[in-house]
């Protein structure tokens, strides 16, 4: 029990800290992409350090802002909505494996909060539940535009939920398990004796569909129809201060969780190629044996590096493409991604039966 | 009647008409500077030159009389050239200080330059230097550089006021308008010079530099400061979006409407008392209904109910004769008519009095001795303009309604003050905040004539209608509105007061009832 609590605390702290600094990363990355410098004014006793205090400043600002509820709205529900979204996304981190085992004093600790045997379903279910926050906020704000935003958001999320689920069927078919630890375990094997048996090599189409659907799930720019600051008024218009901050934060958490899922499902999770429990065994011959602690460290670092990369990629996409039109968005989901994912399942099935 | 052709279009005018007037009738404006309707033509500005068929050179439109079959051309090359030439001459010696000139925006010279000039100045020489700021009396300031020597001012003082303070001095380009030694202008019509001056040579201290005239709006009204009832324009500032303007009314100007010969000499002018006595419209205005017992600004309904209740109580107790009313001749015909209907006819009161008239010295031209606007109207409506009989007014009186509209001081009515405390309920209708307002139980703010519509009957028996120019300050409403709602409140002749929504509705009733107003 205590062990699980400590692991959960570690995971959630890591998760939240990373999400926090993802805001900084997004600002900086977009700035560098656009030949700018980005946020660098926030300082602490004159130290700026590339604007690393900016997220803290933002947080303080959000927290000290006025907390208001619009007239004629349900105060409780209005307050509840952002926490709902936040909670469902935050919880998903508990199923993600950061490494294999850590042996401390002969005792074995899994580097995963909880290894559910329906891990994938659990994550999908929780992500789907976070829609309630969106719908609730849109409805409870007592504002027809937020209501529209909320409805659009829910329509979008439900549509892409299908493609998201279907794209994962392929993975489940090639790695016959719903447990994340097992899926990662399958990926430690080698293909043709040298290529890591990562999901990306077995399910390239599945990866693309998953990436797109997942990005749509995160409601960020090419798919940011529920918010659409420049054309419609989003579902969280009536929110301010900390509650608004929670929505923003949830967005970044989603980015992070998608990066984690991508890593875990398609890029071998915490696996470093050719690193085994006792060290490296390169396919071209030659070993490099390492103590257990170093191996685990390598694994955790590798996992984080992969996650950072996918975060970077998502931010890159978000700052590169313009937004879809709403009908295009729905067309894309229903007429392209879903058939494609069905085709992916069929093709996988055919290939596997060969 | 003579038929003449102006720019080839035929028009019939009276014999003896000048070409300029005939053209004006035909809708063609011939520019002129020195000519003014009120004076015989002077012919010195040379702006009104026109071409007349058969004449070797250009003729003056302002002085040439029409002949049968005369063909006049006002827009030929030659004429335009002549106008331009004259403008060029005038502007050569005219200082270009339009930015600080109060006339800018309504300046004849500016208008004509826009219409007929539009040239670059060739004048490379030194302009004549003359005095820019000469005090010529009565707050008038003469700028000799701006003067174009139309001599309208000289002629006005010579022909209209017959005082002749101004004259032309020096010769040629050094000619200038001036006063004789220290005989400053001192007559009651000096303000007209400012309006008369086609350029900004004469300005008055009252308006000088206060604002620019293009910010002002004009509203037609009737001067209430004496019983002549001159027709005036109230020029007021509608205000800026963000900045507070110190006052609303900036000046009064004359409104020329009566052009028949009998009025000719008088119709163009207003006296200085009317022209400069406008400050009452913005000063010390009562804005809130004050009900003494409530000790806070009251709402209109409360005041109406209070008033109606007091009267109705007297009606039930059959003690109506314990009510007194004091009216004044500043009220419009409509208001006096309503007052008479309610107090004299409906309630059959005996104690209806008029406050003492504001009086002053009269002069030969316009100003009358009676400085209230509507004495004649009150008489025609059926009131006797009587002095207040103190004994009668205060004897056993329980309810006293006083209408006090004079912007001047309180005058002899202050004698009533000590007696007021005898009366149980005192109600005052007044547009002004005065000290004596405190003595009343209910003070109802009303409007000055510039803010309400209605009509005055002037000393000659002419009924002059006017509309509201300014918007009412605060809660203040016109007396007739109060009287209409009072009429409804006391329920004596309720139906008569329905449908009285505008002053003219009242006037229509008046027309039916009183021969004079038909």
């Amino acid at each position: 029990m205590i062990e699980a609590l400590i692991k959960f605390l570690c995971a959630i702290v890591w998760f939240l800290l990373l999400s926090l600094y993802l805001t900084w990363a997004e600002r900086k990355e977009s700035a560098v992409m656009q030949d700018r410098v980005g946020a660098n004014r926030a300082n602490f006793f004159g130290f700026r350090i590339l604007g690393l205090f900016q997220p803290l400043a933002d947080a303080i600002k959000m927290m000290t802002k006025e907390d208001f509820t619009p007239a004629f709205s349900k105060r409780f529900l209005h307050n509840l909505a952002p926490f709902l979204s936040f909670f469902f996304v935050a919880v998903t981190i508990s199923t993600i494996p950061f490494g294999s085992h850590l042996m401390i004093g002969g005792k074995e600790f899994r580097l995963q909060v909880i290894d559910l045997n329906v891990g994938i379903l659990f994550v999908l279910a929780l992500l789907a539940l976070s829609i309630y926050g969106v719908i609730l906020s849109g409805w409870v704000s007592n504002n027809r535009w937020t209501l529209l935003g909320g409805l659009r958001g829910s329509a979008q999320l439900i549509s892409y939920e299908v493609a998201l689920g279907l794209s994962l069927i392929g993975i489940i078919m090639v790695f016959p398990s719903l447990k994340f630890s097992e899926i990662v375990g399958f990926q430690s094997e080698l293909l043709f004796g040298w290529l890591p048996k990562w999901g990306v090599f077995l399910q390239p189409l599945g990866l693309i569909i998953f990436l797109m659907a997942a990005m749509a799930e995160s409601e960020r720019v090419p798919f940011d129809l529920p918010e659409g600051e420049s054309e419609i008024v989003g579902f969280f218009t009536e929110y301010g201060g900390l509650k608004y901050g929670l929505y923003m934060f949830t967005d970044f958490m989603k980015v992070l969780i998608i990066a984690c899922l991508l890593t875990t499902l398609f890029f071998g999770g915490y696996h470093v190629p050719w690193l085994y429990a006792d060290g490296f065994h390169f396919p071209w011959g030659g070993d490099w044996l390492l103590p257990h602690g170093i191996v685990v460290l390598f694994q955790v670092i590798m996992f984080n590096l992969k996650v950072f990369f996918f975060c970077w990629l998502q931010i890159l996409i978000r700052w590169t493409y313009p937004r879809f039109r709403y009908d295009q968005l729905m067309d894309f989901g229903w007429k392209f991604l879903i058939p494609l994912s069905l085709f992916n399942i069929a093709a996988t099935a055919v290939l596997m039966s060969l | 009647m003579v038929e003449i052709f102006i720019n080839d279009s035929a028009i019939k005018v009276k014999e003896g008409t000048t070409v300029l007037k005939a053209a004006e009738k035909a809708g063609i404006h011939i520019p002129h500077i020195c000519f003014h309707d009120a004076f015989p033509p002077e012919g010195s500005c040379r702006m009104c030159l026109v071409e007349i068929e058969g004449h070797p050179c250009l003729e003056l439109a302002c002085s040439t009389q029409v002949r049968e079959g005369m063909k006049v051309y006002t827009e030929t090359e030659n004429v335009r050239d002549a106008r331009k030439g004259v403008l060029e001459f005038i502007l050569a010696e005219h200082p270009m200080d339009c930015p600080i000139c109060d006339k800018a925006g309504e300046c004849t010279l500016q208008d004509y330059y826009e219409q007929y000039g539009l040239f670059e100045s060739d004048f490379l020489e030194e302009k004549e230097r003359k005095d820019k700021k000469v005090d010529i009396g009565k707050g008038l300031i003469l700028d000799r550089e701006r003067c174009v020597l139309c001599t309208r001012c000289v002629r006005f003082l010579r022909d209209i006021t017959k005082t002749g303070e101004l004259g032309v001095f020096e010769r040629g380009v050094r000619s200038e308008i001036g006063i004789f030694g220290d005989q400053y202008i001192d007559n009651n019509y000096a303000g007209n010079l400012v309006e008369l001056c086609p350029v900004g040579a004469i300005t008055d201290k009252d308006f000088r530099f206060k604002t620019r005239n293009w910010f002002l709006k004009k509203g037609a009204s009737v001067c209430p400061l004496c019983s002549r009832g001159c027709q005036i324009f109230i020029e007021y500032h509608p205000g800026f979006a963000r900045f507070k303007v110190p006052k609303r009314v900036y000046r009064i100007s004359s409104r020329v409407t009566s052009r028949d010969q009998s009025q000719k000499e008088k119709g163009y002018w207003i006296c200085d008392i009317g022209r400069y006595g406008y400050s009452y419209m913005d000063k010390d205005r009562a804005e809130n209904i004050i009900l003494k017992q409530k000790n806070r600004p009251a709402e209109r309904g409360e005041a109406e109910a209070f008033l109606g209740e007091k009267i109705k109580k007297l009606i039930y107790r059959n003690k109506l004769q314990r009510m007194g009313v004091v009216l004044n001749t500043w009220l419009t015909n409509e208001e006096l008519f309503l007052a008479r209907k309610i107090f004299t006819l409906d309630l059959e009161l005996e104690k209806v009095f008029f406050t003492e008239l504001d009086t002053g010295e009269k002069d030969d031209l316009l100003l009358t001795a009676d400085r209230t606007p509507n004495k004649k109207g009150a008489e025609e409506i059926g009131f006797e303009i009587n002095q207040i009989e103190k004994q009668k007014l205060f004897d056993e009186t329980e309810l006293l309604i006083v209408f006090w509209s004079s912007p001047f001081g309180l005058g002899s009515i202050t004698e009533l003050l000590p007696e007021l405390s005898k009366v149980r309920t005192k109600i005052l209708f007044t547009p002004f905040k005065r000290k004596w307002n405190d003595a009343f139980d209910l003070v109802i703010p009303t409007l000055v004539s510039a803010e309400k519509g209605g009509s005055f009957t002037n000393i000659d028996g002419k009924v002059q209608h006017f509309d509201a120019v300014l918007s009412p300050p605060g809660e203040a409403r016109a007396e007739w509105e109060w009287l209409v709602s009072l009429g409804k409140e006391i329920e004596v002749d309720f139906n008569s007061y329905l449908g009285m929504k505008f002053p003219y509705d009242v006037y229509k009733k008046m027309k039916d009832k009183i021969e004079f107003f038909r």
């Binding site: - | 033509p41 002549a82 001459f89 032309v168 010769r171 000619s175």
Partner: protein, 415 residues
Amino acid sequence: MPEKILTKDFDVKHLFKIDEYMKKGGYKTLTRVLKELKPEDVMSEVKAAHLRGRGGAGFPAGVKWGFVPKDVDKPKYLCVNADEGEPGTFKDRYIMTHNPHLLLEGIVMTCFAVGIHTAYIYIRGEYENMAVRLENAISEAEAKGFIGKNILKTGFDLNVTVHRGAGAYICGEETALLESLEGKRGNPRLKPPFPAAVGLFQNPTVINNVETLSNVPCIMEKGADWFVKQGLSEDGGTRLFGVSGKVKKPGVYELPVGTSLKELVYTYAGGIKSGKKLKAVIPGGMSSPILKPDEIDISMDCASLMKADSMLGSGAVIVLDEDVPIIDVLRKVTQFYSHESCGQCTPCRIGNSWINKIVKRIYRGEGKKEDLDKIEKLASNILGRTLCPLGDAAAMPILSIVKKFRKELESFIKG
């Protein structure tokens, strides 16, 4: 020398005294006229004599008298215009100095003809000597009964007053003269109405020049036909030409109307001083357009000079020789008119001063190329567009000088 009519006795000493004048036959005609003729006869005689006004405009005097309404209750006035302000003119002064009684005789006859009982002699203030001489002559004539109540017992009354002006050029203009006489500022009046109908104190008024009136006794003495024969058929009699400038013998010459200008300059006035070449002639006072040497072979009467775009004016001939810079002339002209403009109407008030300022600038050597065009434009803007003839009088010489001596003026600008 042709026969002198007006000035025939002017060389008699003390002619201004009534005794001397009567010795020479003065007032004889007056006695005859008053006693034997009717007013209409006098008027028709003067009309027949085609006596043109000698003041400048050249309007026939008899016709002018005819404009005065006959049957009105109002008093009528005669104003004698002795306000000789035109530069170069000194003929009236010549008459008034030498023979004031001739003028008085003419005045009485005119008043008799028109039915006037009050006459004013408006004399410019600078002519103090002549004014005194006129006043003395009037008192002499009154003493003899030629002026005053019941003249020569014919029952005709006439009161003659000498009024001194203040020396303004504009007061030579008839309506300005009237204003001045009324005691107001000497501003010209708007015409119409003309003074013959509404004049002095709003009453019918005849205004004539000194020389014109001085001619009346001669006409009455010798008859209209004889008078016409002396000059031209439409412009009868002789005129006094005051020649000044660079001639050998400047002075007043009485010559028949129609004498050639060349003859006047070369024969009577003796030609140009010290053998210089002639540059230009101003034929009728400063307000008349200038004539170049090749134009001076011209008959000196109103019509011919008008044809040559000039005018006879008051017959004051100013002769300029080649030494006179034309810019000086222009400067004098513009200076004079800008100084003498009354300031009432715009073109004259400002136009003249403007031209003067430009000319002064050219004179200082700061002229610009376009200045001459500008002067021409300004002058033509003044011409014909002013209240009184002063504007024309200013514009015409300026225009003619600029037109005829453009090259010289341009050389001055360039230099």
